[in-house]
Symmetry: none
Subunit: 208 residues, 2 copies
DNA sequence: AAAATAAATTGCGTATACGAAAATTATGTG
DNA sequence: CACATAATTTTCGTATACGCAATTTATTTT
């Protein structure tokens, strides 16, 4: 087990940081091999020494921004792909089915919902199906926020969406909305009936 | 004008490297200010010294991978957003609404569907709503494929999904599936009634 | 306007990134 | 198996990232 010696002030992040660096390195080696490149090939293509690339792949060093830029160029990928966002890879040639009532209902004061496909690794979208019990914005202490984008579809009932940067919008059954989920938002049922909705989140974290 | 002295072997990349670093720094400062954070706030949130953050924002240094990871966490963004990548950017603080019948119906022999939010730039998910007129796999010349992942939800009726790598699956109303869309697939209605479905695609291209 | 406070930048010592060359390991060929 | 070649890793010296404390600049308060 190789021991790296991070700066003293980073002690609390030591495990996290090392873990991230190793994952990055593994992804880098995978990308390189997928393209049938040797370290020397990539060194030529990127302008980074083969020795540095080898160390990066083994998580022995953390590349600087400049080197990361060069690497993305050398590999012909963008930065996002270089970081292989989403640790587990999505199973190729797979299809998963969510049966009615298959997933455990999660209950909060304001929502009752199922997290669909919670057992599917590496999926980029997070679908959720449920019922909005909140009928007033006052039911919420604060807005919900998480990085990414969100699609919400109203199956039945009437839904009002409050956001911190826009006028509230009300959707009827069959209607939908698409929003920046990093902006504070809450969903409330707008009629007598609890609205039934389907939500698909993209990005880290989830809505509810 | 501050002068940095890069390694001799990086001379040919000097301008490019500095340029990239300055852009990154500007984006970082923008992200931080958008969130109403001081350097000290972000230093606390990320575990990186304020002086380092200041230098990074002014392009005076290139952060290492470890620091970049901490930064993304501290800012609550993913790496892609940190680098400001992605062609057209999704409008921050936006919400778009798709009303019933708002979008033009697109008709093929096998499907009638609306491409929801077709006017929204930079969205990563492509939602579609429609009806499956095909009741037999024989209606299709070939499977449909496109890179990425796909979520399909059955609003009404019964849907059978044929894929090239799996046994067919049949979904009832309220059920859904999540699949690798690069794998050949077709959707067919399975009962007398045309199934009504909602599809959300992620990745380049779209299904139908 | 002066004083107080907040925010950003600079100075300096230590740790780590980095490249070139040498050494080691892995692979291919006769 | 021996040898040649390719690929990767290690060594070592130099440059740069990094954090803490001090200083400067910007903003707010009186």
């Amino acid at each position: 087990m190789i021991e790296s010696s991070p700066p003293p002030s980073a002690t609390s992040d030591e495990l996290t940081t090392d873990g991230g660096r190793n994952e990055f390195g593994e992804n880098l080696r995978k990308l390189r091999k997928d393209k049938k490149m040797t370290l020397a090939d990539l060194a030529t293509a990127s302008g980074i020494a083969a020795s540095t690339l080898s160390r990066a792949e083994r998580g022995l060093l953390g590349l600087t921004y400049d080197r990361l830029s060069q690497l993305a160029d050398g590999l012909g990928v963008d930065m996002a792909e270089l970081f292989g966002t989403g640790g587990a890879s999505f199973q190729k040639n797979s299809i998963s089915v969510a049966r009615l009532g298959e997933f455990e209902l999660q209950t909060t004061p304001n929502y009752t919902y199922e997290m669909l496909f919670s057992d599917v690794w590496g999926k980029a979208m997070t679908p959720m199906a449920g019922v909005v019990k909140a009928h007033s914005r006052l039911a919420f202490d604060d807005f919900i926020r998480h990085p990414g984008q969100e699609f919400v579809f109203v199956q039945s009932g009437q839904l009002t969406i409050y956001t911190e940067a826009n006028e509230p919008v009300t959707l009827e059954a069959g209607e939908s909305a698409y929003l920046d989920s990093s902006m504070g938002h809450v969903y409330t049922s707008a009629g007598d009936e609890d609205a039934r909705i389907l939500v698909v989140c993209l990005g880290r974290g989830d809505s509810a």
